[in-house]
């Protein structure tokens, strides 16, 4: 193929893109390209830089350096959302951005509603027929006059795609589009994607699901730690290989800790056949004292839902839980009293009260310790706060500072600290080190290790595979709401976990 032909084939070219957010480098010298009419999957672990690359392409944020060309035209560093839209780049996120209360047609034509020639009023008839024509062209079972509220997620996604098509997008980016779809809906989506491909539209597809990547993609780009480590052509695509590339070969100092082992200590939590409609099914496991039970799985596999049910925030439909040998019907207040601790997934939204001081944040979970006849001893609270600061080396060490002003790592330490100072028996930890610097991470890991050594059980949900396998003493992997594999003996690698999460058990995809 001559160079010129190759060039005109290219929809998007990114060369040596680098991006850092005030410090940590998120993307480093990344090359990336998309051809017309190709389905290109972008894969990588959490934190590998996928969403940042997308943000740079769509103008939500700007690169620090590197070149970007779309359809041959150079895109400056000061790229913007509006500019990317007018160029023909459309992006469909998981949180769909449709306007409720409006019809499909209205959503498709938002801000560009067709008007009468004579007067500046919307020609609803023409809008609907144009919309319907577009819908019919792709053979979707939608009516232009359907109201968004009544549509299923899959249908709404279709509307988003139609929106992109209506804006004459030549590149459509989809971020984990099948996470809320049933398998038949996913199949339909793939049909749509193939159709788009046939029309010469480029589809950039981000996914963790290996079977999809394998089925759909013409090419796959693998990102790891901010680098582009491989671009695979169709024949080279194979889920196991992709996983291997995502993980890479690492020289681990913590090899010893990769060994899983069953615990013989007393059973702290005995979960039998826990089910919650559409969230998880048939969950059974036992948690021993001093164990760190890691829970792995892809996003949406039910990990957070299970631990929230165990803690008592969410209800479950059936099954039983026994805590310390006695039947347990969880609700938050009694869980806390009983020795549970809970570190939620989203630090800023759920974990901390930003406007309130450290003392306040730590105190709110420890009222049973600091209270006396309805009054709270400020002295005791302060003492607790200081102890937490000391134990976790929280900086700055002034307990009066509003937690919102602390760095991410220190905020998380506050969240951990308020449990640490209690008489804990079971600590539930959900994605503890997202957005935290290395130093704080290490300190947290050491804290977990100390707790475990002291006999505290830890349930660790984490998408950070190195973290998961190096800290846990045993690992359960979830897939689509069920436990698909347990790693309780021998050495486990990140690949093992990722393969299990992706359903690659014994070579086949399930």
């Amino acid at each position: 193929m001559s160079d010129q032909a190759a060039e005109s084939d290219l929809l998007l070219v990114c060369r040596t893109i680098t991006k850092s957010y005030n410090g940590p480098v998120v993307l480093s010298d990344v090359d990336f390209s998309m051809k017309r009419g190709e389905v290109h999957a972008l894969v990588g672990e959490n934190g590998a830089g996928k969403s940042t690359l997308i943000k740079i392409i769509t103008g939500v944020t700007n690169r620090n350096s590197g070149e970007m060309l779309f359809e041959g035209t150079a895109i400056g560093i000061e790229h913007s959302k509006v500019a990317s839209q007018s160029l023909g780049i459309a992006v469909i996120y998981q949180e769909l951005s449709l306007i409720h209360g409006m019809t499909v047609a209205q959503n498709l034509f938002l801000t560009k509603e067709p008007r009468f020639r004579a007067a500046p009023f919307i020609d609803i008839g023409r809008m609907n027929s144009l919309a319907q024509a577009l819908i019919d062209r792709y053979g979707f079972e939608l009516k232009a006059t359907d109201i968004i509220d009544g549509l299923s997620i899959a249908q709404r996604q279709t509307v988003e795609i139609l929106k992109a098509l209506n804006s004459r997008a030549s590149l459509i980016i989809m971020d984990e589009p099948t996470s809320s779809l049933t398998s038949s809906e996913s199949a339909q989506l793939f049909g749509i994607i193939r159709r788009l491909k046939a029309e010469g539209i480029g589809v950039l597809y981000i996914s963790h699901r290996m079977e999809e990547v394998y089925d759909l993609s013409d090419r796959v780009t693998v990102l790891r730690d901010g680098h582009n480590v491989a671009v695979l052509e169709k024949e080279q695509i194979n889920p196991a290989e992709i996983i291997r590339l995502m993980i890479g070969r690492r020289l681990e100092e913590r090899d010893a800790l990769h060994t899983m082992c069953r615990s013989n200590a007393e059973v702290v939590l005995d979960v039998r056949n826990l089910c919650s409609e559409n969230r998880f099914n048939g969950i059974s496991f036992q948690l021993h004292a001093g164990e760190i039970l890691g829970i792995g799985g892809l996003v949406g596999s039910g990990r957070t839902e299970i631990v929230r049910a165990l803690y008592g925030i969410d209800r479950f439909d059936s099954g039983s839980i026994a805590y310390l040998g006695k039947p347990w019907s969880p609700d938050v207040a009694s869980s806390i009293r009983g020795g549970f601790g809970f570190i939620p997934e989203e630090r800023r939204l759920q974990g901390i009260m930003g406007a309130i001081s450290m003392t306040g944040n730590i105190g709110i979970t420890n009222l049973d310790v600091t209270r006396r006849h309805g009054f709270v001893s400020a002295k005791k609270e302060l003492a607790l706060a200081r102890r937490a600061i000391e134990l976790l080396n929280i900086k700055p060490d002034n307990p009066d500072i509003p937690v919102g002003n602390l760095s991410g790592g220190n905020q998380q330490k506050v969240v951990v600290g308020k449990w640490l100072i209690r008489d804990l028996k079971l600590l539930i930890v959900d994605e503890p080190t997202v957005g935290i610097d290395i130093g704080a991470k290490e300190e947290l890991y050491q804290t977990f290790a100390r707790l475990s050594a002291a006999g505290v059980s830890i349930l660790l949900v984490s998408s950070d595979l190195p973290e998961l396998i190096s800290i846990s003493t045993r690992i359960l992997v979830l897939r689509q709401g069920c436990i698909i594999q347990e790693f309780a003996d021998g050495i486990v690698t990140e690949e093992d976990v990722l393969r299990a999460s992706s359903g690659l058990v014994e070579g086949a995809v399930r």
Binding site: M353, I364, L367, G374, F375, V376, A378, I401
Partner: protein
Amino acid sequence: MSVVASKARRLLADFRLFFILLLLMAVLTMLSPMFLSIGNLSNVLWSVCIIGIMCTGFIYAPVTGGIDLSVGSMASLSGIIANVLMNNAHVPLALALLITLGFGVLVGLVNGIVTTKFRVPPFIVTMAAKTYLFGIAMLVSNGDTITIMGPQGFLTIGVGKFLGLPIPIYIMLVLTAASHFLLKQTVFGRRAIAVGANEVSAKLSGVDPDRTRIIAYILSSGTATIAGIVMASLTQQAYAPNGAGYEFDVITAVVIGGTSLMGGTGSVVGALIGAVMVGFINNGLNLMNMPASYHPLVTGIVILIALILNQGVTLPAILRRQFGRKDAPK
């Protein structure tokens, strides 16, 4: 930031309000020398006390992230109820006051339940309450201005003095101290602040947001009732429209005092100072011969300024927002 420096900064912030109050007094004295006279100050006193008493309970509504617009109507209604009980039904004083307070608690309970269990936004619930309480007040009193001549014990509440100071001041100070203590030193206070700061986080920490909010609205209506009793006693009058507009003054006082309407913070002492300032402003306007109906004009401007300042909006901040980088990591 060193501990000393942060403590000093906090002290300055706490006293900033007080300095502004002093400044206000200075300005008002300049504008009208009569301002500082004993006669005038005792005049201001009663409206300050009423607003101040209302603030002590009301503050829990914004602290939990809500608002209570019914405090004014509640106040005038409670005066009317108290009067009916004492002078029409000849119920003994103590019992009459207790029943009136009970009514206030009931109204607060209803407000709280409707806004938590039925998820109706607080301002709609309390605004509707404001209307129907007013209606009830008018109904019971037939729209008349009732002069309250007795019992003597009742009148003493408003008019009596103890150690030279009018009793309402003591009521206000005691309630302020109690509320301050409640907010800063009790389990409930901690929970109220947590619910307002981050309801999800509070729930994860074992707090029941519904229960906390219900208690907050009970407190708000309760102190409004007390304020209403004081008002009826002071003015020797029970008149349904008397309470109109107080909610505005109370909101202004609380906002000046540094409490955020979004929830999570609260300063009872600040609200007290705010109440004093609102009372002074209204009084000062009176002295400048601005009739009472003009006062909301000034209060409206004051509240806008206070809100903007509370947000930390300063000129540097505005400039930074206009010309800042769009690149901040999320």
